[in-house]
Symmetry: C2
Subunit: 509 residues, 2 copies
């Protein structure tokens, strides 16, 4: 090898070590995070948050260190970069972007923020349980303040809020989202109106009742197994807000929550998180231990959770196969109910208060409300203490319902307590990606519906692994969707899918 | 302030930050360790161990960094050291000792060892379940090899094994242990012989049966509450080998294991770990976030677990109060059994195979065997593959029993798989410390027995907090025992206690 080649080899090796160490710290932080959400004793939280903050800021410090800067300067030399393999090149580019962003934040500011959000997620749990929004305002004000400060330091894009959006779905900004949400509104609001005006409302009476928790747990596990979720590389626990965390591809955890009077909440929550988990369990071993070893964006991640939850889990074929199994798990329930009746019931369209329990159609309206409120917070200076008023007004306007209290209103989601402003749009992007991906899947897997109807979910999982999961972050979201469909993200696939599905269920012409 | 004072103040501040960061990393590592032992998915263990190793070696690197060396050099200047408060002085001395020890190990060697022991604890779980000692030999050989290498690097004290002993009970070496174990042997072996020759053996037939797991769990929790264990600052889980981990004083966790055919295993295991936990939950807030915020040594720690397990939990007074509660938890069991009969039954003396289920008297023989084997490993070059033979021969000689398989023999304890050679003597030291401490407690709390008999365990907990718990590592083990009893550690208190207790139970003259 020539000397420059040797130097590049050496730089690459040090770079992989350094980014690998950051990835490892993130993994250990992930364990601590999971632990805080699934049962860490409350009296230990404040000290734990300090410890968590110390490690998170060390990871942050490494990502912005002079060593990182020097290695990136070497590796981004055109000659060097072009000589790298596809994965290494992507690793350099991704790390460079993080580096540039993180260099603009003082480490101490970042550490304070990590400690704050770590404590405030626990405070949010308490505030939600006690319906105490006012008690939570001081946390929220601080978190919003930090985010405004971050935007100043990073620099506003077209609008300040765009800077936050870029954290979750790189390349998607308010201009795109305004257009996409506008298209959804144009086609979905009339559909929702037609349904409520002239639709044949499914009978949902048999969904009311009490459902044994252990049976709910057993059925959730059964379905996860059917999906191909590997319990030797994961586990299912309970938390206030369901989540998935991919610590490493051999340890991808799901949480859910069981409601005694609602069979659907835990079940679809589990399938949703299970979809996320399939993504993280099926990453290519080539990526293990690198920061590319995770989903490529929140939008693509949500496409997989929403695809499994709705397009598979709320499909007619799925329940053709699994309704008899459900009946077995809940003896005495659903005795005179047909699979078709059950399918229609779980797809009832109804304006409701809680996002994660919303039907597929109105779900996007819940997201739109949050998107509009986040724009107001960062582009128009809305204050935290005014959130309940704005929230309730928007729910009344868009969905015609008003939360009876803040627990079922502005306090329902964990996201803001963790500082995740700009995340919510990912859910609707996920719905759109999912519909576009499924449109191709039906062409490539011509027997897909029959397979689902026969409980053969593995061909779909295999195809998604090939097309999406294995690449992790080594392909960008736009590359993923273009490779699969030959197009950019469109809203039309989701609208077509929802029209087809709901016109059938509601027997509209 | 003068300039040197300002410099010292500044050094102290930096020193507290640096040691605080190390403590925080240890806390987060503790969460990951607890997680690996209580249900982390098996497929994630190898990658997790790498991540764990990276963070552990960063913590190690900080403890041996040039910055640490410079700060210690400044703070150990006589003038500076004498100007520090008691806690800071102790923190400097303790850190200096660690620094000198750790500086002798290359970080990479340490990292390899952490990854190895992290993986091998999981391998041990498998080997124990499958009774596969041969499959575990490669791990054990490597771990022993690393420890031999560490001894070389650290330098052997009187004997190589002494160097390991110093890790667990500073100031206690083979010369002390040979003497103390010798005294125990001289007094306890004749006692055990007299019991087997002429003792009135308690009826234990009613301990045989099957005991509902949920009832065992409920009773364990009930007793922990009675002891004053704070469930808002801890939790009780299950693991293959019971342990306690004090992550911070607000998060002190216990694990146990429930055997369906043995009511005593989980119960006394829980009380044992509960004793450890009381120590860690009741540390002085002054110590929070510093490396002094933990028990002062393994021997003193075991004194608290063994004190609660045996001197409280296996006492006549305790069961006078709690036997009716036990009966309530297990309806239909123990119907014609008196509290006195139960007390005698749970104190039956019997040579047995499993250390953690041994009676108080023969327990020390289990420890002696391990102590002798560890001396052979490090002072006489015994090889890992020969362990089962030596183990079985020693059990035959000392206890007259031979394990039917390695799972119940050499594979029974977790310690060696984690590299904890030199730990076992702590248990017998703990028994001796405990007896010496209880001797004083009976003087200082004249109604102690009546209180225990009335279920008032808090006065004892309060006194132990005052005398032991709150100090954490800010007093040395020798200071603790001297402050309490005015003496060094003696074997006689334990021997007196055991003679008194067992002569009564076995109705010996």
């Amino acid at each position: 090898m020539t000397e420059p080649q040797t130097q590049a080899q050496d730089a690459l090796k040090r770079f992989r070590n350094l980014t690998g160490k950051i990835k490892h710290y993130e993994e250990i932080l992930g364990v601590a995070f999971w632990d805080m959400r699934t049962g860490a004793p409350r009296k230990g939280i404040d000290l734990r948050s300090e410890a968590y903050g110390d490690l998170a800021s060390e990871s942050f410090r490494l990502s912005t260190s002079d060593e990182m800067g020097e290695l990136l300067a070497q590796l981004t030399q055109p000659d060097t970069l072009n000589g790298l393999g596809r994965v290494d090149r992507r690793l350099v580019e991704e790390t460079q972007k993080e580096y540039e962003r993180n260099r603009k934040l003082p480490t101490e500011l970042y550490r304070e923020y990590v400690v704050l959000t770590s404590q405030s997620e626990s405070a949010w749990e308490g505030a939600k349980a006690d319906n105490d929004f006012q008690g939570f305002v001081p946390y929220l004000e601080k978190i919003i303040g930090y985010n405004r400060r971050f935007i100043e330091l990073w620099g506003a894009k077209d609008t300040p809020y765009d800077t936050l959006l870029d954290l979750y779905e790189p390349g998607m900004f308010t201009a795109d989202l305004d257009r996409l949400f506008g298209e959804l509104r144009t086609r979905l609001v009339p559909l929702a109106e037609a349904i409520s005006r002239e639709g044949d409302r499914p009978d949902t009476s048999f969904l009311v009742g009490t459902f044994d928790k252990e049976a709910q747990k057993a059925f959730s596990k059964f379905i996860l197994n059917e999906m191909g979720y590997d319990f030797d590389a994961g586990r299912l626990d309970e938390s206030v807000h369901p989540f998935m965390t991919g610590l490493n591809p051999g340890d991808v955890r799901i949480t859910t929550r069981y409601l005694p009077d609602d069979i659907m909440s835990a079940l679809f929550g589990t399938i949703h998180e299970g979809g996320h988990a399939l993504y993280e369990q099926n990453l290519d071993p080539e990526l293990y231990g690198t920061p590319l070893c995770t989903g490529t964006s929140n939008g693509i991640h949500e496409s997989q959770s929403r695809l499994w939850e709705n397009m598979v889990g709320r499909s007619r074929e799925f329940w053709h196969r699994y309704f008899p199994e459900l009946k077995k798990h809940f003896p005495g329930k659903f005795e005179n109910v047909s699979a078709e009746a059950f399918y229609r019931a779980i797809n009832v369209v109804e304006p409701s208060l809680i996002r994660i329990e919303a039907d597929e159609l109105t779900y996007n309206l819940h997201i739109m409300i949050r998107y509009e409120i986040e724009k107001m917070l960062f582009n128009e200076g809305l204050s935290a203490r005014d959130l309940p008023e704005v929230w309730n007004a928007k729910y009344k306007e868009a969905l015609g319902v008003v939360p009876p209290n803040d627990s079922q209103g502005v306090l329902q989601d964990v996201h803001w307590s963790g500082g995740a402003f700009g995340y919510f749009p990912s859910y609707s992007l996920g719905n759109m990606y999912a519909a576009q991906i499924m449109d191709v899947a039906r062409v490539k897997l011509p027997s897909l519906d029959e397979q689902i109807g026969a409980g053969q979910l593995h061909p779909l999982k295999g195809w998604l692994t090939e097309q999406v999961y294995r690449y992790g972050k080594s392909l960008r979201p736009a590359e993923i969707i273009r490779n699969i469909s030959g197009q950019e993200l469109q809203s039309s696939y989701l609208c077509d899918y929802l029209e087809r599905k709901y016109k059938d269920i509601y027997r509209l012409k």
